[in-house]
Symmetry: D2
Subunit: 353 residues, 4 copies
């Protein structure tokens, strides 16, 4: 009954097998390994981007802040939503990597709108030396509230950014889940929709620790390499990153695992509708659910050993009657049995009270 | 015949087995996994330091610059040798992580002397607002030229630093090799010799990608955690770092692997003495050899597919007669057969010329 | 008719005289001059703070970001209003000086409320390594919209910050104007109200370029000195900063000049009430007025050579009927004649239309 | 008898007069003042550089680190001598402003040689992601030991830098003194000799606090403006910087003041030759003298109230017989009477001992 995050489950056996297979004899270090050559070819092919510059790092934070900082000057501001991971969950990592760029919070909704973006850009007048200068747009797909931008929505947002000459970065920690939801191609969800660079997440979707950073314009390549090295994110035994990514791309494993986690989440959503007083704050679209439950339901679930993110106040604050918001995430390894056990525990409430 | 670096060989099967064993079911992320609890206990015991703060990261650069920057203020200077990895091989990573601290190069020898350290510290007057302020001493053990400080040497250097109120950090990328050479305990080579914090390397010695950072004074713990997160080096699926380190500590595997690489290096050194005009610039003491060979010997070796670091000028600069310096590194997996093949190729020279 | 800013007027003759008087013979550099000793004594006396650490710099930005950054760690967030000068007018200077700290925007009003501050602090959970850590509260007095916090309001805000263990910094670019409005003592408006450190502005109030930074806790002194030097803000011929500040403190010139600018502003406010369709968005309380005027009025004023800040859209956007917001600032040198001329021009509208 | 520095003397009356003249009525802030327009025109004319981008700041440190950091990326290294002001006297300011670039110390002499520069550049292999990347050459003219590069020497050094694609920055804190020594034009000593950007010092040569930064390639202009603002070095009441620089340029005052200080220094040098056991470590070429004197001479001079820089050990270390090195600097206001008094005191020694 563990729904804390998709970083709490195991790696897929095929990824482990790829690691073991790579663990033979000598291999050049620092990204010169042959497996990386293959990874580069396959990602370029997958993204229909034969010129793309492609790199691997071991954490999602690194992929995003290294990618973003390559597109940002220290006197600029990045545009993102108030919920953006880079704003609320990274302990000032974007500010550190960019040398002190600012984050401008756009609108107050989970999915950014073109109007809100236009207004936020307008907050910083062009050519005024006193203010932060306009910098990249950063979008998260799947969003931090489990929503998926359509290709049209992405395109509309990119259009706003590009009209102002600003690059677009996509935080793709859950890239595969979004592709699985939309049924489009990686190219359609990225460069064809105006995305200039992105992180392509593996860690949350069945790998141990690997993320790709992709620039469609290879002019950023060398600066990125220097930034990665300087940030201590260039792995010496790089083959183990390459091997994970190769295993992840093999036989479309990345899509298969996203299909599993999305399907598990859809099943969880369906079953949660049986739970009294359970309300979704956002429609489940990928592998995350945001729902409110009565305080008593939470207390019982947590007492029974269930795990998930909990927002909105102390669990045992007796004088507060409002329900609490929870985040439930499914990874590829989530089973119907675990979900059923969770639902059974949650539904007890109805019987009891 | 690959002697490029100890980061080019495979991981030891026991490490892979530990990874596989850890890959079961749910585990809390970000260092809250149970395996990390065990790693912490075992490293504290190994170092006889029950209060030590202990963390894992995936690269040696990260271990060193995160550890060092926790001990350094941005207006200070770090003291290290001109060959120090943090000076010559990290693309300004220490400067980035410290927010702009300076590196003061001490002396001109591979192993720092107390006299040179005293002189370098004296270069920066105390309490002068105009100059860099004195900061930590950073020593590399095994040094970048394959030398091993004795415990007395470490103690003498730490004494100088401590007399000036400066902390001592040990870059222990090849910590195990040094312990194997000295035959002392980890405590004797660290806190008993005045070391305040260190990196304890696993990557070069049979792991995939794991290094421990150890502070003997736990007062640094929280700042380190914030710095690690901010630098994007806190792994979400942390269990895979923990598992590697656990496997590394099991049955003293770390020592056994260092014994193998040191022994291979000793064998290589012995055989190199058979090669005409081969001169060691530094006495081999751990798992690295620095030796000069005639240009022709290099040309033949490299043509035959041998790999190793090469310093001191173009290989084919025909008008330059002086021999070239090479660095030969052995990891735990190096075999006598590979060494014999290398030596045979190197000795051909004698026969031919 | 120039109301652009209080940094557009001349320096007061007494300040010029103090400069000339200081320009005799030899003086030690870098703050060791005797005039600075006197400045230190007098500011300590003025603030009833015999232990305070006191420094001079030449720009208001420097005073604020050096002062603030001494109180902030790079993984923390500063709390300020959305209008705060450090947020909107400093080209990421706070982020640069702090090494990448974040600014959290509190509430949506010009004057911060304790409730909004409490809510903003609560946004960043304590002890969570993933998020920005809580850092200093930064208040601007006079605010960016010309408002003055009462001593009780300051105290209430400081209390919230201190309850969470956070220091309080006061951006006092218009400190004198606030004191003149409140009629309290500098001590009452600062440390007695919970302010830990502040900038005490001279530049906007009749000096050429001098601001004091004051820490009531001298424990910050040495770090500030290093930060000032490192930031290139330690003046070699420091006597000229000292002399300005000495002249500013002589015979309460600082208060007299604030009285002049506040009085001019009050007169301007009174006369603006005669202008048709002129509405104050904030009640004038010091030396700045924020008011809306019809677009035609602006066009006529600007055509006539008047100068002031203009917000809210293009002046000649013909299809937009709403009035535009302007900022009018009076410095010590503003005369009734200039104001009368401005009002006459503004009132023409009534006659014409 | 104060020879501490050329920042300890008064400003020239003409500079004060220019300040007073500028102190009339309204002036646009932040560099939009009309005086700055005139300064820009005159400096472009003086440097025969009609396209040059020209800015003013208030400290020499700011001029140098802002100028340099505009030419440097954070993963690069700046090349300078071991005595360079930016290395030894700026409390890590270059590292701060560049976001963590490194300083590579070239050779071991006061004036850099092309051979030493070539060797230092060669230390950092091109295109190696692991090392610091090659960045700008920074030369100081007059050097920190009072020496003046000839135009040919500057050209030879610039040629080395340019051959490697590296820009050349000139720290011209004592620019006027060097011009006075060489008798060449500003253009000949800068862009005609390969200098890409420079600081043009006023503070040490009779101003209160003003330095110009000049880029011959205006492509750097906007980035410099953002960096200056972000660093809190954009003065609001900018007219007072402009006025100083205008006064400094009027009637070649800058050259006249340098002529005075160089002449005073030449007189001091001539008279020092009368002092027993006084040896120059560097031939006096501008307005600074480096000379050794017996310890007793120093003791007598300092007891008599003389002031100057003292290197090389404690003054009263009785067991150390070697002479101490002193730095004696003359500014424009130094008189023969002061020098004579100093010499008389120094020569007493001969009489006594």
């Amino acid at each position: 009954m563990q729904f804390h995050s998709d970083n709490c489950g195991p790696a897929h056996p095929s990824i482990m097998a790829a690691l073991t297979q790579a663990n033979e004899g000598y291999a050049p270090s620092y990204g010169e390994d042959e497996i990386m050559d293959e990874v580069r070819r396959r990602l370029r092919s997958l993204f229909e981007a034969p010129e793309a510059a492609i790199y691997l790092v071991a954490t999602g934070t690194a992929a995003n802040v290294l990618g973003l900082s390559t597109l940002t000057r220290p006197y600029q501001t990045i545009f993102c939503t108030p919920h953006a991971h880079i704003e609320v969950d990274e302990c000032n990592s974007p500010e550190f990597y960019t040398g002190g760029a600012k984050l401008t919070l756009v609108g107050d909704t989970d999915k950014m709108t073109p109007e809100a973006l236009e207004a936020a850009i307008g907050k910083w007048p062009e050519g005024d030396v006193h203010t932060a200068q306009r910098g990249p747009l950063c979008l998260t797909q799947v969003t931090e509230r489990g929503q998926v931008y359509t290709v049209d929505e992405l395109t509309a947002l990119s259009d706003v950014a590009h009209r102002h000459g600003l690059p677009v970065f996509l935080d793709g920690a859950r890239f595969a889940n979004a592709i699985e939801t939309l049924g489009c191609s990686p190219a359609e969800m990225t460069w064809k929709a105006g995305v200039d660079a992105l992180s392509f997440g593996g860690t949350k979707n069945g790998c141990l620790d690997v993320e790709a950073v992709i620039f469609f314009d290879p002019a950023h390549a060398w600066e990125f390499e220097l930034r990665r090295k300087r940030a201590a994110h260039l792995h010496s035994k790089h083959r183990y990153l390459s091997a994970q990514m190769k295993g992840y791309l093999n036989d479309d494993l990345w899509l298969e695992l996203a299909r599993k986690s999305n399907a598990a989440c859809a099943y969880l959503a369906a079953r949660l509708r049986e739970v009294p007083d359970c309300d979704f704050t956002h429609p489940p679209q990928a592998n995350m659910i945001f729902a409110t439950l009565p305080r008593e339901t939470h207390q019982r679930l947590i007492a029974a050993g269930a795990g998930y993110g909990l927002f909105g106040g102390p669990l045992h604050g007796g004088d507060r009657a409002e329900p609490l918001l929870c985040r439930l995430v499914c990874d590829w390894s989530m089973t119907h049995a675990q979900i059923d056990e969770f639902i059974a525990c949650a539904r007890l409430q109805a019987a009891v009270s």
